[in-house]
């Protein structure tokens, strides 16, 4: 059985700018991987390359063994990769329920004809979708917001709704882009618990971009650190925490000197 997601030396170039260099990642089923790095490191670019928003300039993306470089986002989604967005991208004027229901559609078989003529097939599918959507809302604790227009939801709930929506596509890999952004400490703790619960309940792999170290290290079983598009470190959270290259990327070499930590040998091409 091939890994749900294999990213092999993906490079993204925009004109002269190399936003991502030879990004490589293989995710196993049920794994929790964290992707961190300073702003502009290329984390969201990696997401976009994986989910089909960008076509990789070099390298390969494989979902469940199939090469998806040239596929459109909706096709990649159907293969089992779902994502959330850094700036929440809910369907603002639609209700929470509808937001989730649309994602359920990803596997829907009935077409326009069925919808217009209200065939039995369509009706039973509508019922199934409704049931599924309500289940996901419940998992994320949003059942009470079912009929609320999503733009009226409080910020934290909007983030949760986005996750519910991504879950509803039935993914094998869930990519979360800074899900804890804008949350307070209590909400963040809840979120960490939630991510693990989702992984346990649905058996999917989670790839997480986060800025908050506590959340990232608390959730991830394995981490990758990007800086200027280059992967500068990989490994378990404890190792990453102490890695001088990572510290330098975030805090600068002045900090390293102050703390008397040896400045690591750098390959200059990354700067």
């Amino acid at each position: 059985m091939s890994a749900p997601l294999e990213v092999d030396k993906v490079t993204m170039r925009f004109g002269g700018l190399k936003a991502l260099s030879e990004f490589t990642l293989t995710m196993q089923p049920g794994e929790l991987v964290g992707l961190i790095g300073p702003n502009g490191a290329g984390k969201t670019t990696a997401f976009n390359a994986i989910t089909g928003v960008y076509v990789p300039t070099e390298g390969e993306v494989k979902v469940a063994g199939a090469r998806v470089n040239d596929e459109k986002p909706h096709q990649i989604c159907a293969r089992g990769v779902a994502r959330t967005f850094q700036n929440i991208r809910l369907f603002k004027q639609l209700t929470a329920l509808d937001n989730v229901r649309i994602a359920c559609h990803a596997g829907a078989e009935s077409g326009f004809f069925d919808a217009l003529f209200l065939t039995g097939h369509h009706r039973s599918e509508e019922a199934r979708i409704l049931a599924r959507a309500e289940e996901y809302l419940e998992v994320m604790g949003l059942s009470h917001r079912r009929d609320e227009v999503s733009r009226n939801l409080p910020y934290g709930e909007q983030r949760r709704l986005e996750i519910a929506r991504a879950l509803a596509t039935g993914p094998k890999v869930l990519c979360l882009d800074e899900p804890a952004a804008g949350m307070n400490a209590a909400e963040k703790t809840d979120l960490m618990r939630l991510v693990r619960a989702i992984r346990d309940r649905f058996g999917l792999a989670v790839l997480l971009i986060e800025h908050d170290m506590r959340v990232a290290m608390g959730v991830s079983e394995r981490m990758m650190v990007l800086d200027h598009g280059v992967t500068i470190a990989e490994g378990k959270p404890e190792a990453i925490r102490k890695n001088p290259k990572v510290i330098e990327a975030y805090l600068g070499d002045a900090y390293l000197e102050e703390k008397h930590i040896a400045v690591p040998q750098q390959q200059e091409n990354s700067k």
Binding site: H74, L90, F91, Q93, L97, R101, I102, A106, L116, E148
Partner: protein
């Protein structure tokens, strides 16, 4: 048995409505043909506005080429009715045969208009916003230009002497069919996908919606009904010329949809009726009519751009929700996207 009754109930409006419309038509036709024509125009405008709303309102795409599809439908139907105007099937008699011919012509008009919609939509719907507007406008004008140059279609003078087949029954059925189509779409998975595309195309795509495919499908459906409208109107005035289908016509339909509220079927219906009646009422002012129309358009955009109804529908009002409450089993006709499942659950957000 319950199912049979349900089906019967859904056809009830037609069973009751058709004879009523027929009687009104006969009455109006003899009393005041002008009024009959206004009524026909009103229903045709409803078909136009609601069908355009599917693309501009539901899917949030800006199409300015509706008139082109009207033309395709109109000419298709005209060619058929003119070709078979003498036909009589012995068992039916002449009048009934001609009605059947008209039915065929109308179906054909929807079919050819749908094909035109596909051909125009496929390449165009990759474009966004303003660009799409201009491309659709361009295609509409190209269609018109082609028609103007084809002898087979009567060139600039068009086709005249079309049999006067359109009456309140036909336009009534068409209008209802259009509204039903739009509504069923709106409460279905497919319709929700269209709304998603309108709200955030990137997110919709990421959630598995084939945005281009859906946009094209919405476009095709919308074009088909525009073709139907074109066929109906040309058989009401018994004439079919390219000048009837300029981009000004497209803009007039866009105005109706925007006035009613993009995305609101109720709005489109109300706006279509309002504008038809208003334009008729102002007819005595002749040229000033259009000046007033233009001024109203500007003022409307400045003061209430979301139109009369925004995205709300008549059937979202609480009374209608109660009326349409259905048993908690499989969803069916009358299901509103945010429908309440039983009395005890309240709608809307809790404190």
């Amino acid at each position: 048995m319950a199912r049979a009754l349900a089906v019967l109930r859904s056809f009830l409006p037609f069973i009751v409505g058709i004879p009523i419309l027929y009687v009104i038509q006969v009455f109006l036709g003899s009393y005041s043909p002008a009024l009959a024509l206004i009524a026909v125009t009103l229903f045709v405008n409803v078909v136009l506005a609601v069908s355009l709303n599917v693309v501009n309102g539901f899917t949030g795409q800006f199409s300015l080429g509706h008139a082109g599809f009207m033309a395709v439908g109109a000419y298709t139907a005209a060619k058929i009715t003119l070709a078979f105007s003498g036909l009589t099937i012995p068992v039916l008699g002449h009048a009934l045969t001609q009605q059947a011919v008209f039915a065929v012509a109308l179906s054909a008009s929807m079919f050819t208009a749908a094909i035109a919609g596909f051909l125009v939509g496929m390449p165009s719907l990759r474009l966004r916003g303003d660009y799409l507007a201009i491309v659709t406008l361009g295609f509409g004008e190209i269609i018109r230009s082609v028609i103007e140059n084809m002898k087979f279609l009567g060139q600039a003078t068009g086709l005249s002497g079309l049999p006067a087949r359109t009456n309140l029954v036909w336009v009534g059925i068409s209008a209802v069919a259009t509204v039903v189509m739009a509504r069923r779409l709106a409460v279905s998975t497919q319709g929700r996908a269209l709304f998603a595309i309108r709200e955030d195309e990137v997110a919709a795509e990421a959630m598995g919606v084939d945005t281009t495919g859906y946009k094209v499908r919405a476009f095709v459906i919308s074009a088909a009904y525009a073709g139907l409208a074109g066929a109906l109107i040309s058989h009401a005035i018994q004439l079919c010329t390219p000048r009837m289908f300029t981009f000004i016509r497209s803009i007039e339909v866009v105005v109706m949809v925007v006035l009613g509220g993009l995305g609101s079927i109720t709005g489109s219906v109300v706006a279509a009726c309002t504008i038809t009646i208003a334009l008729e009422a102002l007819r005595e002012f002749q040229a000033y009519r259009m000046v007033v129309y233009a001024l109203l358009l500007i003022i409307l955009m400045l003061t209430r751009p979301q139109g009369l109804f925004g995205t709300r529908e008549l059937w979202d009002l609480p009374i209608f929700r109660k009326l349409m409450r259905k048993p908690a089993v499989a969803g069916g006709e009358g299901a509103s996207p945010t429908e309440v499942r039983d009395d005890s659950t309240s709608t809307g957000g809790a404190a």
